[in-house]
């Protein structure tokens, strides 16, 4: 039987179909992995020491990078808004736009991406290395379920700590804008703070924290998923790490779009 030319419409359609089916299969596998993670999270046995360790790794040790990212972003945002606003005599809106920009968008997204870079990669590399060196098999032979011992604590820790990191990032970002505005742009400190507080609504803050929880869950789940699916050898670990960060970053940005729509388009 002769095969159609690779450039024929039928062959292109077949390749497109394969890609779509492949993508749907991947979505299904990640969804099953996520559901399994939550199922293991709520069922005993629990590993509180592993959860505490993950809280430390994901939350506490991410504070410096989150703080530095937020303060520079807040400062740059203030400068941009001042310069842009000056084109139509709207320099005075710096406090309001910095606050809304940091809390609604930049705070959650930048913290999410920083967590993807720092935590997702670290989780994927660690679990992938454990898989390659048979430590995952060893866990099973020691009657310990890897999903409970390795995955559930990390995802739970990210779910709990990333909203806190986003909250801290929002505050530090606003403070970055405050410092630049009051020290370089001649804003009155008290008026700046009052404008910031008066302008923010509860919905802004809630959306920020919900986004943090969603992005943290995505980041940790992707790290664990790619780590557990890792291939053999150093190349397998490298691919798992790279894939996890790419997937986490794209999913965080996609989730941000969806959540922004849910909170602010209704």
């Amino acid at each position: 039987m002769s095969h159609p030319s690779p450039l024929s419409p039928l062959a292109l359609l077949a390749r497109l179909g394969q890609m779509v089916l492949g993508a749907l299969g991947a979505v299904g596998r990640v969804a099953i992995f996520g559901l399994s993670t939550f199922s293991h999270m709520v069922r005993p046995p629990y590993y509180p020491r592993e959860v505490l360790n993950a809280l430390l790794q994901v939350g506490w040790l991410s504070l410096p990078v989150v703080g530095l990212t937020a303060i520079f972003t807040g400062g740059a945002l203030a400068l941009q808004i001042y310069a842009g606003g000056a084109r139509f005599n709207a320099e005075a809106v710096v406090p309001q736009i910095v606050a809304i920009g940091m809390v609604r968008e930049l705070g959650p997204v930048l913290v999410g991406l920083m967590i993807a870079a720092r935590v997702t990669s670290s989780i994927a590399a660690e679990i992938a290395t454990m898989k390659v060196t048979e430590q995952i098999d060893a866990l099973v032979t020691l009657s310990t379920h890897p999903m409970k011992y390795l995955v559930a604590p990390r995802v739970l820790a990210a779910l709990l700590t990333v909203p806190v990191l986003v909250g801290v990032g929002d505050i530090i970002g606003i403070m970055g804008g405050y410092v630049v505005a009051t020290q370089n742009l001649g804003f009155n400190p008290a008026a700046y703070l009052k404008n910031t507080v008066d302008f923010l609504e509860a919905r802004d803050i809630i959306s920020s924290l919900v986004k943090g929880a969603a992005f943290g869950t995505i980041a940790a789940t992707m790290g664990c998923y790619y780590g557990m699916q890792s291939g053999r050898g150093a190349q397998g670990v490298g691919r798992a790490t790279k894939g996890s960060v790419e997937a986490a970053a794209v999913l965080i940005l996609a989730a941000n779009f969806v959540l922004t729509g849910v909170f602010f388009s209704l």
Partner: protein, 248 residues
């Protein structure tokens, strides 16, 4: 007793086990030999349920390995992995006492630590190793820690996956002697996979030769040299010529 009956396992087009049948009597030490990639590790992992066979039956004391309480089933086993598979983030004593610090065999921390130190002594390591991290130990010491972990909960069945790979001849001899002593002392059923004929002679009661996914020969270690089986003869003497292709 462990029994594998006509076990098949393939990974894609690669048929690894093609009807493996083997019996390991209770309290005996079986060593499976065979070239790289012949399915020795797959057979061992299939018994533990780490790999699911495509077909065939695996029985442990007459019951299917994949039935009943999984934790209770695994609690009967100890395993020494090829690279020791120690948990990098935990100190040595917590690696050894891992099973004793959680799950159905959980003990108070102090008691678990004491047992870990006693097991470390049993494999020839001093107590001061207990608080070190696995990465601070040599390959031979890591293997001994892995052995201590395998025996920590006094299992009925112990698996050894290439226990002497990567070790110098003296350390290999030490590990072989330890395995033999411990298996005899505990009265455990042991299953070892190796390429190392010195290990075979030191550890085995019975030997099985696995090639092309099936057991080519099995019998007592004392009869191994007079087996008359061409696969065994080629493997024992390390010849390039014979029924086993040198290039695989």
């Amino acid at each position: 007793m462990i029994r594998l009956e006509n076990v098949h396992k393939a990974f894609g087009d690669n048929k690894v086990l093609q009807g493996m049948t083997l019996e390991i009597p209770k309290g005996s030490s079986m060593v499976i030999i065979g070239g790289s990639g012949t399915g020795k590790s797959v057979a061992l992992k299939s018994i533990l349920g780490l790999i699911k066979p495509d077909s065939g039956e695996i029985l442990v004391d007459g019951k299917p390995a994949d039935s009943g309480d999984r934790d209770a089933f695994l609690a009967r086993f100890g395993m020494l992995f090829q690279g020791a598979a120690l948990f990098d983030s935990l100190p040595v004593w917590q690696n050894v006492a891992f099973r004793l610090l959680r799950g159905s065999l959980k003990r108070p921390v102090e008691e678990a630590r004491e047992i870990a130190i006693e097991k470390l002594r049993r494999v020839g390591l001093k107590a001061d190793v207990a608080d070190r991290l696995p990465a601070e130990l040599s390959g031979g010491m890591q293997k001994r820690v892995g052995l201590a972990r395998a025996i920590a909960a006094e299992p009925e069945i112990i698996f050894f996956d290439e226990p002497t790979t990567g070790l110098d001849p003296i350390m290999s001899g030490v590990i072989n002697d330890l395995i033999r002593e411990i298996v005899v002392e505990m009265g455990a059923t042991a299953m070892t996979i190796t390429h190392d004929m010195t290990s075979v002679r030191a550890i085995a009661d019975n030997v099985a030769m696995l090639h092309a996914g099936v057991i080519q020969w099995t019998g007592p270690v004392a009869e191994m040299d007079q087996s008359g089986d061409p696969y065994m003869e080629q493997f024992i003497h390390g010849r390039a010529e014979g029924p086993i292709e040198a290039v695989r």
